[in-house]
Each structure stands twice: as structure tokens, then as C-alpha cells.
């Protein structure tokens, strides 16, 4: 396990955004993290990177055997960019407008590997070539605004991978891109992951992305785990009513009923509020199962993720009404 997260909690003064999630990630594997807007995907990933400045982070984040929660900020900073790297949704605003892409890629390499400016620049050119940017030597001297959206995301990937990290967190890396470019970027991430055996945490709204790249899937709802299982099982035998809702709406989408750019669509109702989350199971106000057969436990007690379904211990679901044996109660 390169990364082991246990009972991660992240609280802001306004409320708790992530309320106890756990997962592990092996080298060379991809974890897809899905959930609606506000479900705590980005907050979780920033906590792993140690990038929260005004939030209280508790629980445990063990990276390659080393506990990061409560570790000195300087230690986490040493790992950042060197052994764990991150790419973001909007590559244009995530790149500095005033520095050439070559400089921006070389910066982290120089810092972490203590190389000369010239060596770092060569590394930047090499990385640009690796992520498929033509004429990398010339383009290294250009600024981000000279690149197209897809090329910028390639630059971000080159930057993230320059120090050969063990973990890559990609926070909606394709959401801002055209569909064809999305596919190319996903293919690039998949290829690099194979070549380098890097662990990838792929955060997305888009179940299509998850289907393409993920080995395992973590479905988040309201800062908690709804379901956590191998990707194949999530798609073949989803247990949690929320996961089922998501899949059903994607099927409707692909059947051509509506089109809204691949965002997680219509499950009736709104995501829960951070300030006043629903009691018991946070999903109960929108849960079809609960609506059909109300159960007291759903409103009084928060369901813990527990083994469910044919995957045994690897398939966990947080729902009171799912039978451990896999059948319905």
C-alpha cells in the first residue's frame, strides 16, 4: 500500500466537509473517486497533499509507511511534488501566466533533486516529449496561453510527473476539455501509470471516466463513503441506492434522453448541506429505497461501510438495508 487513509475527517469553521472516509491504494492501481459537487472529493485530496491551511484534519493518512496527519509541515512539503503530485481541473488557471512552461516544469525538479538549471531544463523538455507535445524543445520556451486546453493539461501532467512521484492525484483532469481531448488525456494518464507503476487517485463527476481508468471506485456522498468496491462490481452489481441512482441516470444519458456535459445528473433533490446534514443516513431525503420502504434506522443511525456483495471484504457499502450476504433484506 502506497497510501492508506483511515477515518479521514476535514473540518472548516463552517462545518465538516469530509466525515470519516477510509481507503487504501496500491502502486500501479487507480482509485476512481466519484460523487456530486460538494461531496468532499477535492477536500479529501487536498488533505492528502497537506494543502489545507485553515482546516482541521484528523484521522490517519499513511503514505508509504509514514503518518502524514500531524507530521511537520516541512516534511509534508518535501513529499509534495516529489513523491505525491496533483493535477487540477482547469489547466490554464492552474499554470502561472508569467512563466514559460519549461520553467514551471523545471522548478519542482530543481528544488527536489537539487540539480542545475540546465539539467532541470533538459528534464522539462524530456517530460514534454513524454506527454506527447510536439517540438518539445521549442515549446518549453512558450507560455501557457500559447497552448490549447488539452496541451496545457499535458503540461500539467509533465510537471506533476517530472520527479517520478509514487502517487498522482488527478482532480477532474478532463472536465474542462473537449470530449475527444478528454479521451486522449485519459489514455495518456493510463499509459504513464502503466510505464511507471504510479498509483492514481482519479477524482471525477463522470462515471464514464471511472469505467475507463479505475481499478477500484470510492463513491462519496455528503463527505462520507457510500460505496467502495472494485470497479467491475460497482458497474455490474452496485449495492448502494445512491450508486444505483447514479448508474441509472448515466444509462438514461447514454440512451440519449438528456445532455448536460457529462456532469453527474439528476437524482432528484439536492446534495446535503455541510452546516445541517440530514440525520442518520445523509442520503435518506433522496433515497428511493427509503421512500419505498421507510426504515427508522435510516433517519436515526448513520450507516457504517460494511462488507456487502459478492466481492466480500473488498466490496463495502454504507446502507442499513443491504444484507451482508448480498441479498436484499
Amino acid at each position: 500500500m502506497i497510501l492508506q487513509v483511515r477515518d479521514l475527517r476535514v473540518s472548516f469553521p463552517a462545518g465538516t466537509a469530509v466525515d470519516g472516509i477510509s481507503f487504501g491504494l496500491e502502486r500501479g492501481r487507480t482509485l476512481g473517486v466519484v460523487g456530486e459537487s460538494g461531496s468532499g472529493k477535492s477536500v479529501s485530496s487536498l488533505a492528502i497533499m497537506g494543502l489545507h491551511r485553515e482546516a482541521a484534519v484528523s484521522g490517519s493518512i499513511v503514505f508509504d509507511g509514514e503518518e502524514l496527519v500531524g507530521a511537520p509541515a516541512s516534511r509534508v512539503r518535501e513529499l509534495r511534488g516529489r513523491r505525491m503530485a496533483m493535477i487540477f481541473q482547469d489547466p490554464l488557471s492552474s499554470l502561472h501566466p508569467f512563466y514559460t512552461v519549461g520553467e514551471q516544469i523545471a522548478e519542482a525538479y530543481r528544488l527536489h533533486l537539487r540539480t542545475s538549471r540546465r539539467v532541470a531544463r533538459e528534464r522539462a523538455v524530456e517530460m514534454l516529449a513524454e506527454v506527447g507535445i510536439p517540438e518539445p524543445r521549442r515549446r518549453a520556451d512558450e507560455y501557457p496561453h500559447h497552448f490549447s486546453g488539452g496541451m496545457r493539461q499535458r503540461v500539467m501532467i509533465a510537471m506533476a510527473l517530472s520527479c517520478e512521484p509514487d502517487l498522482l492525484i488527478a482532480d477532474e483532469p478532463t472536465t474542462a476539455l473537449d470530449v475527444t481531448v478528454q479521451a486522449q488525456i485519459l489514455e495518456l494518464i493510463r499509459k504513464i501509470q502503466e510505464d511507471r507503476a504510479v498509483a492514481v487517485m482519479m477524482i471525477t463527476h463522470d462515471l464514464g471516466v471511472v469505467a475507463r481508468v479505475a481499478d477500484e471506485v470510492l463513491v462519496m456522498y455528503g463527505g462520507r463513503t457510500a460505496e467502495h468496491a472494485p470497479a467491475r462490481e460497482i458497474f455490474r452489481s452496485p449495492r448502494h441506492p445512491y450508486t444505483r441512482g447514479l448508474l441509472a441516470s448515466v444509462l438514461r444519458l447514454t440512451a440519449g434522453e438528456e445532455e448536460d456535459g457529462g456532469r453527474l445528473p439528476a437524482i432528484p433533490g439536492n446534495p446535503p448541506s455541510l452546516l445541517a446534514p440530514p440525520s442518520g443516513c445523509r442520503f435518506h431525503p433522496r433515497c428511493a429505497r427509503y421512500a419505498a420502504a421507510p426504515d427508522d434506522a435510516c433517519v436515526t443511525e448513520a450507516p457504517e461501510p460494511r462488507p456487502a456483495g459478492p466481492g466480500g471484504a473488498t466490496h463495502r457499502t454504507a446502507c442499513h438495508l443491504i444484507d451482508i450476504s448480498g441479498g436484499r433484506r
Binding site: M49, L51, R77, E78, L79, R80, G81, R82, A85, M86, F88, D90, S93, S94, L95, H96, P97, F98, T100, E107, A108, L111, H112, Y143, H145, M156, M159
Partner: protein, 329 residues
């Protein structure tokens, strides 16, 4: 870049010509009769007519304007016969008050205003940027709030009041500083600085307060940019994140305002010069306006326009240096 600079320089010349024409037109339309002023109170109407002819004021306005502009570049002879005055390049005419060439008046006064403007600019930039930066980085703390309260107070006090208070305390009570008396830097740099310190502080306290608030706002905005998060995700030291990635962007709006402020001040800080009795362009302007001394007013107006357009040009060039997106636009 060179071509860009040349193009901009040509535009500056055009702007100056337009300003010259407008100022000329305003004076032409004014009811006051420069001939009567120049001649004096005891003149008979016949004498005034004679003077008017001497001064060329009887000729059509476009001829007068043409003569004025030609005089700037080629020099001219004012009047005819024995009373004719040779006015050498660059000719801006003669003061009605003391028959001295406007150009000489301006060049005599200019070092005072330039000393005042540049010295206070150094003070206010250093002070304003430092205070603004500290406040932004300590945002929301007691320190931030006290600094901002202080700048608000400092910015709302009129210049003449600051001047009086500083005079009272530093000159009269403590006798730390001499009463300002302009001494050229070429003669005695220490005396030059010592004498100007008080006016510098007066002007700087006003501007530094505005620059501190500006820097703080700009810095806070910049530090929330996604590319700052990227810089942190690379594992850069916070120091590098703040200076290399944050401050450089945060300074761009400040460059614009600094150019305008400096350009305006170079052509004379009327109130400050007046309060401290400094013989600068501001004083000259003040006197010329009260005495309806058209050639001098025209001269200082052109000077001010020259400095402001020049400052604008400087700002654009600095901008192009800072922000690569401007260079290629």
C-alpha cells in the same frame, strides 16, 4: 518589442499635440486679454492694441498655434522691430509677469519637483508594499486590522495637515530636521536629502497608505489563484510561493497606478510645494494661474501632459516585461 516601443512613442507625440491644441483653444476662448495683462494697468487702449500686434494676438488662431508649435521645434522671433525678442529652441514663449523664457522657468523649477516626487516615491513604495504584504499574509489577525486602520487614518488626513503636524513635531519641538530649504543634489547631496525628508514624508504618508491597501487587496486576490495552489502542490517553500508566484502577479495593478501617480507628481505637487515653500513646478503653476500668465500655464500644462503620457508609456513597457500575455497581444 522595439517596434512596439516605437509605435507607442509616436502615439505619445500625437497625444501631446492634441493636448497642446486643446490648451491653446481654451486660452483663446477665455475672456481675459493677455495683451492688457502684459502691458500693465497704466496702458492706453492704443498701447494695448500695439502690444497685441507685437504679440501676434491679432492674427488668426491657427496661425498663432502654428507659430507656437513651430517655436518649440525651431525657435521663433516674437514681435517685430526694435522690441523683437529672439526666442531660442525650445521656445514656449515668455512669461507675462517677468519676461523670462518659459522654458528657463520650467527647467529651473523642474529639479525641485523631480527630487520631491522621486524621493517620496521611493519611501512610499517601500513602506506601502511592505505594509500591504504583511497585512495580506497575516490576513484577519490583529496586526492586519491595526495596520489597515492606520492606513485608513493616514490616507484620510489632508496633506497640509500632515505637513503642519510634521513641521510642528519634527522641526519645532524635537528639532530633528531643518525647515525645508531646497538645496541642489549636485551641490550637497546630504543637505538635499536632509531638507527634503520632511516633504518626502508628508507625501509618502498619503501615498504609502493607499499603496498598502492596494497591495493587500491585490495580494489576497492573487494568493487565491489556482496557480498558487499548483505552486504549493509542487512542494515549493512558502517564501518562494509568496514572492516568485504571488508577489510578481500582485504587483501588476500597482505598476499602473504607480506610473500615473509618479507622472502626475513630476509636474509638481502643488500643495506640498506651497506648504513648504519649495520652488518647484507646482509653485510656478500656482502663481501662473493666479496671475493669468498664459505662456507659463501653457508650458506647465504641456509639461504635466508630457510626464503623464511618458509615465503611461513606461507603465505599458513594464507591463509587457512582467506579463508575457501583453507582449504578444
Amino acid at each position: 518589442m522595439t517596434l512596439y516601443a516605437l509605435r507607442r512613442l509616436a502615439a505619445v507625440a500625437g497625444v501631446l499635440l492634441v493636448i497642446c491644441a486643446v490648451t491653446f483653444a481654451i486660452f483663446y476662448l477665455l475672456p481675459s486679454d493677455p495683451a492688457a495683462h502684459a502691458c500693465g494697468k497704466t496702458c492706453t487702449p492704443e498701447q494695448v492694441t500695439l502690444v497685441r500686434e507685437q504679440m501676434g494676438l491679432d492674427r488668426p488662431v491657427h496661425e498663432q498655434f502654428g507659430g507656437y508649435v513651430a517655436g518649440i521645434f525651431a525657435g521663433r522671433t516674437l514681435g517685430t522691430g526694435p522690441a523683437a525678442l529672439e526666442c531660442s529652441v525650445p521656445c514656449f514663449g515668455y512669461s507675462y509677469q517677468n519676461a523670462l523664457p518659459v522654458w528657463d522657468l520650467l527647467t529651473d523649477r523642474l529639479p525641485v519637483s523631480v527630487s520631491l516626487a522621486v524621493g517620496s516615491a521611493v519611501l512610499w513604495l517601500a513602506g506601502g508594499l511592505a505594509v500591504g504584504l504583511v497585512a495580506a499574509l497575516r490576513r484577519g489577525t490583529v496586526l492586519d486590522r491595526s495596520l489597515m486602520a492606520a492606513t485608513l487614518a493616514s490616507a484620510s488626513v489632508p496633506v497640509y495637515f500632515t505637513a503642519m503636524m510634521l513641521l510642528l513635531v519634527l522641526v519645532q519641538q524635537l528639532e530633528w530636521l531643518p525647515y525645508p530649504d531646497y538645496r541642489p543634489i549636485t551641490e550637497d547631496p546630504a543637505a538635499w536629502a536632509g531638507n527634503l525628508l520632511l516633504p518626502w514624508m508628508t507625501l509618502a504618508s498619503l501615498y504609502a497608505a493607499m499603496y498598502a491597501r492596494l497591495t493587500r487587496a491585490s495580494m489576497i486576490e492573487t494568493m487565491a489563484e489556482p496557480y498558487i495552489r499548483t505552486a504549493r502542490a509542487k512542494g515549493l517553500h512558502e517564501r518562494t510561493v509568496v514572492t516568485k508566484h504571488g508577489l510578481r502577479s500582485a504587483l501588476t495593478p500597482i505598476v499602473t497606478i504607480f506610473g500615473m501617480d509618479l507622472g502626475g507628481l513630476l509636474a509638481g505637487a502643488v500643495i506640498t510645494e506651497h506648504v513648504f515653500g519649495l520652488p518647484g513646478v507646482g509653485q510656478l503653476t500656482y502663481d501662473a494661474i493666479f496671475k493669468a500668465d498664459q505662456p507659463v500655464v501653457l508650458g506647465v500644462t504641456l509639461l504635466a501632459a508630457f510626464f503623464i503620457t511618458l509615465a503611461n508609456l513606461g507603465v505599458d513597457l513594464v507591463y509587457a516585461l512582467i506579463d508575457p500575455r501583453v507582449r504578444y497581444a
